[in-house]
Every structure is written in C-alpha cells, then in structure tokens.
C-alpha cells in the first residue's frame, strides 16, 4: 500500500516537473531575448555616432549553415571569438542543417519569425521566394556602412549581377566568376596505353574505347543521372566545353531546352527548332551508351565520388576545375598506383567565355534579426585574410598548411571544406595546392572578372511568379526524360518526341514570359 502511494506521488510529481520545466525555460529564453535586444540597440547608436573606440557589447549571432558540423568546429569558433573579442565582440552560434532538410527547415524558421542573424540561401533553394515573402533585409546600406572589406574582396560585377529586384538581399559567395568544368581521367590508364595528354573531346573518346578494349572491370565513362543534376548528364555537360556557347536560360535551371546564344538577348527554344549541335551531343551520348562506354547504371548511381574512387571508372564529369585531393587519396588507397588527372576544354582566352556573374550561394540577413549591424560587421570581418583562412581552412598547422600566399594543403578530415556557405570570395580564397598547374591557371584566370565577356543579361533576374504553374509542370515532365536523353540511356528520337509532346506547350509559355521580362530589362538598361 505504501509503495502504491509513493508511486502515485512520483507520477504526479513527474507530471508537475514537466510543466514547471516548460515554464522555467520559457522565462529564461524571454530574459535572454530582452537582454539581447537591449544590448543591440546600444552599439547601433554608438557606432553611428562614429565613436569606434567604445567597446561593443558582446552579441551572439545565430548563423544557419548547410551540411554537417565539422569535428573541429568548436576549436575554430573559440579561436574566432578570441580574435573578435577586442573589436566587433561577436560570439557565434552556428546551426548546421542537413542538406535534405535545408529547404523545409529554413523556411519554417523564417516563417515563424525565429531570431536568426545570418542565413544561407541560394537561388536553387528558395532565395527569390523568401525575398518576395519579405523575410530578408536589403543589404545595400549595411554594406556601405559596415561592409567595406566585404565589398573590396568581391568584384563590382559580382554585386551588380546578383541583385534581386534591384537590391542586394544576400552577400554573394563565390571564389571564381566562371564555374569550372572538368573531366576526371585516370592518368595511370592513359599512360598505360601510351596516349598523350588529352586535348580534345575526340581524344577523350579514343581513350574511352581503349579502356573498353583493355580493362574488363573498368567502365570507361561516368556522368550524373540523378534528380536535378541535369547539367552533368554526359551530353549536356559538353555545352561547357564547346564554342560558340549555348547558355542555359534563367527560367529552367540547368535545362538546355530554353537557352541563349550569341549574347543577343533572345530566348531560344529547342522545341521550336532543334539546334543541330545539341542534337549531335544527344546522338553521341546514345552511341557511347549503346557501345557500353557510359556506365549502364548511370541513372541510378547516387554517390558518384565513391564510384570514381573505387577505381572502376575510366573518366567522369566533374563540376569545378581540378581533381579534388580527397578523391585522389581515396583512389590511391583502393587501387595502388591509380591517379586522376583533370582534363578540361574550357578556353582560357580573354573574353572567350560569356558569363552573367551569377553566384550560387548567399548569406542573407533576416528582417527579424536584432543584430543586423553586427551580422554585417561579422561578414566584413571574415573578408580579412587571416580571418578568412581561419574560417575556411581551420587552424594553421592542425587543419591546414599554408602554401605560398594563395594555396593551402588540407591536413586530416576534422575540418571539412565549407567556405562556400558563409565566407567565399575570389580574393582571399586559397587554392588546393594539390591542383596541377593548368588548373591553378584556370582558377587564377577566372578570378579576374575582366577576363570574361559579360552577358548582355548581367543583372537580370527572372521573376517566376506569373508562370509558376507551368514551370513546375514542365519540370515534372523533364524529370522523366531529360537525364535518360542526355545520358544516352533511351532512344533519342522517341524520347525527344515524348518530351516534346508533354512539355512543349508549357515550355512555350515560359519562354514567352521570360522573353517579355528580358525585353523589359533591356529596354530599361538603354
């Protein structure tokens, strides 16, 4: 009887504890929030008075980043906070969100008005949508006031081209003005057959046939076939390497169906008129696939990197210049003597490449942030060379080694690479010292915005709202056919016919709307 009674008491107590704990954490948070807002208003006013000597109150910035938390993150945060203590006095609360849940979680965070000071966003995520919903603060004034260093390390083109609705809503993050594209080729195999370094696409295919003849366990060619990575399907990938360029439109992501050419401000539609070059890529991919050169499972493979480093691939497409050192190390471990080399046919001539200077990654300041000024001060702080080195590569001697002024060597895997999420810029960025000379030249060449021909559409941003429905319908159609078409998995004629039958009407409407907005943009520009 006594035990029963005490059990009852225990259960009631625990239920009570639950409610009390809920309340107590409630009041704590509220206090912290008040304190935060009070402290933020003080430095804002003092800073505007221009009295920089007065020490700022400590402020904790909550920053939302994609991916995983690196193992050594705490050590780097500690060092960064130590360095900031005497000037901007910022503490860092970094929240990492898995890639799979990034869209949903960040949207919910913003919609609920949660207190976030800096947040990663991108056009491929939901940047335009969040801006239209009014969640982000325009940065132009903040940049002028607190972000001089952040402006200095980025080119003017980068800011001009990455405005949304005429304003800067996110700090553009990128280490180059032209996205690199590369074929990763097995150097050891090429040398085994006595072939010269590959200079043209035909030589690449010759090499692939050699691999097919001589290696039983190696699939000659590998491209991407999953989901939205349509730019890396074998046939579509060739667009980056051949001239004149066909530039993908602003409306349909990485699809080649709507494209620009000749820098003439017109939208071309493959359904209206098939471009012979693009069709030849599709047919070429089909031939390679039926000849058994392209990986038979290309549409199903997810983890391309580990297929490459298992040593079972002769050549693979890769976004960015150069061979990532992680791939080469892993490959050498699995297949002794194997080595990858980077082969690219992207031209390195002044003005050869047309670009709109669009970047794929941004850091935005949400409207609800109570420390917008400090958030911008922090972004500015990261633009200083030694601070950039810390946040991008970790602690010197422990996570990386400096090689000269503009290269680095990673040590271990405890601080994985993610500067693209918060600090990337073309000036202070270091290159992987493991890159070959040619690759380093490519990077250095493309860091300078004046080496590229600006697209006539630089600064244009497409507002998808009027054709939202068509775009989602069209994308659903394309998802069924596009990758299998450009990877050569299905018959080109019938696949193209199906895609055209189901998608042409929607694509046309999107094309018309896009052209309308482009015309308005160009008229205004003149």
């Amino acid at each position: 009887m006594r035990t029963r009674k005490s059990l009852t008491a225990l259960m009631i107590a625990s239920a009570l504890a639950a409610s009390v704990a809920g309340c107590s954490s409630n009041s704590n948070d509220a206090d912290a929030g008040n304190a935060g807002s009070a402290s933020s208003s003080a430095p804002a006013s003092s800073a505007s008075e221009g009295s920089k000597a007065t020490k700022l109150d400590p402020v904790t910035l909550k920053i939302v980043l994609p991916g995983d938390r690196p193992a050594d993150m705490d050590a780097i945060i500690k060092e960064a906070e130590k360095r900031m203590a005497d000037n901007i006095n910022v503490k860092l609360d970094l929240v990492f969100v898995p890639w799979s849940d990034l869209a949903q979680k960040t949207q919910v965070m913003l919609a609920s008005g949660e207190d976030v000071d800096l947040i990663f966003d991108a056009p491929w995520l939901h940047m335009e949508q969040m801006i239209s919903a009014g969640y982000y603060e325009p940065m132009d004034d903040l940049l002028q006031q607190y972000g001089q260093d952040a402006i200095k390390v980025r080119s003017q083109q980068m800011f001009d081209a990455n405005k949304f609705q005429g304003k800067i809503y996110g700090l553009p993050l990128g280490n180059t003005h032209l996205a690199g594209r590369t074929y990763l080729v097995r150097k050891d195999l090429r040398e085994k057959y006595g072939l010269q370094p590959i200079k043209t696409y035909d030589e690449l295919i010759q090499y692939a046939y050699k691999v097919k003849e001589n290696e039983k366990d190696v699939v000659p060619l590998l491209a991407y076939g999953q989901g939205a990575s349509t730019d890396q399907a074998w046939g579509a990938f060739r667009e980056y390497m051949e001239y004149p360029q066909f530039i993908r439109s602003d409306a349909l992501g990485q699809s080649l169906v709507l494209y620009y050419k000749n820098n003439d401000g017109k939208v071309y539609n493959l359904f209206d008129e098939m471009e012979p070059t693009i069709w030849s890529w599709i047919q070429d991919a089909r031939k390679l696939y039926t000849d058994g050169l392209i990986h038979p499972d290309v549409l199903a493979l997810k983890d391309i990197d580990s297929v490459i480093n298992s040593g079972k691939v002769g050549a693979a497409v890769y976004n960015e210049f150069g061979v990532p050192s992680s791939l080469n190390t892993a490959l050498a471990k699995n297949v002794p003597g194997a080595e990858l080399e980077a082969v690219t046919f992207v031209k390195m001539e002044k003005g050869a490449n047309i670009t709109n200077f669009k970047q794929a990654n941004f850091q935005a300041i949400p409207k609800v942030s109570k420390h917008k000024d400090r958030a911008m001060m922090f972004l500015n702080w990261t633009a200083q060379k030694e601070n950039y080195d810390l946040l991008a590569y970790g602690i010197e001697g422990k996570n990386y080694e400096k090689v000269g002024d503009d290269q680095y060597k990673q040590i271990g895997t405890d601080y994985s690479y993610f500067p693209y999420a918060w600090v990337w810029n073309p000036t202070t960025d270091r290159l992987n010292a493991g890159f070959d000379e040619e690759t380093i030249k490519h990077y250095q060449f493309n860091k300078d915005a004046s080496n590229l021909t600006p697209s006539i559409l630089t600064g244009f941003s497409f507002d998808p709202t009027p054709v939202m429905n068509e775009i989602s319908l069209y994308n659903a159609t394309e998802a069924k056919y596009y990758n299998s078409l450009f990877d050569g998995v299905t018959d080109p004629d019938s696949t193209w016919a199906s895609l055209k039958k189901e998608g042409a009407a929607n694509a046309k409407k999107i094309q018309v709307e896009l052209q309308k907005q482009i015309d308005a943009f160009l008229a205004q520009k003149k």
């Binding site: 954490s25 948070d29 890639w99 990128g174 991407y224 939205a228 990485q254 298992s310």
Partner: protein
C-alpha cells in the same frame, strides 16, 4: 478457433503433452510435410537475416576490401577501423544519452498521460466524454500545419534546444489513446462500484486497481511509444539546433542526406561534395544506432502480438 481460445488457460502441461502425442503419431507423409515446413520457414528466416548479416559483418570489413570486392558474406580483410573512427568523437555517446533519456522519460510520461486520458474517455460517468472523444478524433484528421506547430513549440513554449521539445509533442497520441479506451471499456464497471463501496476515491481506483489489471495494453502502448520516441528524427530536426542534444537518428539522417546531396542542390554550379564517411563507417553507424531497439525486440515481441489483437478484436 473458438475452442483454442477457451483452452488456452488450461496450462502449459496440457499443451506440451499434446505436442508430444502428435510427434509420436506422425505418419511418413505428415513427417515430410512438417520437414518441408521447417525447411521453408528456416530458409525464409535466412533470407530475412541475410541483409542484416551483410550490414553487420561488413561494418567490420576493411574499407579498401569493400571498395574492391563489394559487400561480401565473409569479408576478405577484417578491421575495426570504422568503429574506432565512430567512437573517436563524443557525438555517439552524447547522442545515445539523449536518445535513451528521451525514450525512457517520454515513454513513461506518455503512457501515464495517455492512460489517464483514455480512462476518462472510457469512464461511463464522465458527462462530456463523447465531446472529448470527438475532439481527440478531430486532431487525427485535421492538423495546424508545420508552421503553426513550429511557432507553438519554438516561439510560445520556448522549448527550442530542450529535451522537452522531443518529448512533449508525442505525449498524447490519439490513436494509442483509442486503443486504451477500447481496452478500458472491456473492464467491468462493477469493479469501480465495489471499490467505491470499500471507500476508494477515483485516484485510488485508477492507480490501485485499473492500472494493475491493464498491464497488457500498457505494455503494448508503451512499446509503440518507445519505438516512436527512439525512431523519431523529425522533432530533433526542427527544434534541436544544438548538436550536443542531437539524438542518434539525426546521425543517420545526415548520412543519408549527404549521400543524396545531388538530389537536393540541383541547379547550383558549386560542387558541394561533402566528404562522405566511408562505406564501413556508414554500416557501422547503422549497427550502432539500431542496437538497443534491436536487442529489445525479441523480449517484447509477444506483447506486441497480444496488444494488436487487443485492439483488433475488441475495438
């Protein structure tokens, strides 16, 4: 069917004796049939076991062996490197603590609250029990959506980055409540009357009489809750920003997310290629995280079967 149920309480001895008798009486064809049944179920069990075996044994395989020869029944080279890598950081240990705490505390609280609520719904003297039932049922069909839920937990209750955010939202599951209601309804109300005559109040009746005789349904619902708490990653994903409070399932979630990264970041020119844990580490992660629940299953399974029939037959 009917007879087997009524015979069941007649005791172990009777059943065992019967089984022996069948064994003695077997004709050759019957024996062949029984043999076939054994072979078939044995084989089927083996097929079910195989995937798990491959995961478990290859988590002990050397990474380069997996890369070169693929997953094998018996790896050519053994190594504990994956586990060493996994246990090097503190994340596994702290995640285990979080998952265990949430599962134990959550299950106890949830069963208690659900049982109390279900008792009210089932009690014939509660005037508004049907209204309450309807309200409970209503939440099964209509929800407030994700943003509303998030605002409630994060902005009003301020439960972000606390373990309560992982526990509170699941405390009262309407479906489990109805399972309990249907069980409580089968208990004769005369028990309550007798207890009242003997001077027991409502609390005493519930904790002293109803709960002890409701063990089967408590076990069942408890198991459902435990599984729900253990397997949940969604609440942690939404409400836990502090990595020190991440439960185990988030580890798996991140793993899968990084493998499928291409599917989420399409249309970006940046190469986000996250360095993936090696194959053996992925397998080891799976082995480590399914541990406790996997070991618990054999012991609780019989309650499961019983509990499901409780819900099914009498609901």
């Amino acid at each position: 069917m009917e007879s087997s149920i009524t015979q069941a309480p007649s005791g172990k001895l009777g059943r065992a004796g019967k089984a022996m008798k069948i064994k003695a009486d077997r004709s050759p064809s019957e024996r062949a049939f029984v043999g076939f049944i054994y072979a078939f179920t044995g084989l089927f069990a083996l097929v079910c076991l195989l995937p798990f075996w491959i995961v478990a044994i290859n988590s002990f395989a050397d990474e380069s062996a997996i890369k070169r020869y693929g997953y094998q029944l018996i790896p050519r080279i053994f190594s504990t490197g994956a586990y060493e890598f996994l246990f090097r950081g503190k994340q596994v240990a702290s995640s285990y603590m979080v998952s265990t705490t949430v599962t134990v505390a959550g299950t106890v609280l949830a069963v208690l609250i659900t049982a109390m609520y279900a008792y009210v719904l089932a009690h014939p003297k509660v005037k508004y029990r049907n209204v309450l039932s309807f309200l409970t049922y209503f939440t099964m069909i209509f929800g407030a959506g994700l943003v509303g839920f998030y605002i409630l937990i994060a902005n009003w209750l301020h439960l972000k980055d606390t373990l309560w955010a992982l526990i509170l939202p699941y405390l009262l599951n309407p479906f489990f409540a109805f399972i309990m209601v249907s069980f409580f309804r089968t208990l004769p109300y005369e028990i309550n009357e007798a207890a009242t005559v003997d001077g027991a109040n409502d609390l005493r009746i519930f904790f002293g009489i109803i709960l002890p005789i409701s063990k089967p349904v408590i076990a069942t619902v408890g198991l459902f809750y435990a599984l729900q708490y253990w397997n949940d990653f969604f609440l942690a994903l939404l409400f836990i920003d502090d990595y020190k409070l991440h439960p185990l399932q988030i580890m798996i979630r991140q793993l899968i997310s990084n493998i499928n990264i291409g599917a989420y970041v399409g249309g970006s020119q940046t190469n986000y290629g996250q360095p993936l844990p090696t194959y053996s580490v992925q397998l080891a992660t799976v082995c480590v995280t399914i541990g406790p629940i996997f070991l618990l299953y054999p012991f609780i399974q019989r309650y499961f079967v019983k509990g499901i029939t409780i819900g099914a037959l009498k609901g």
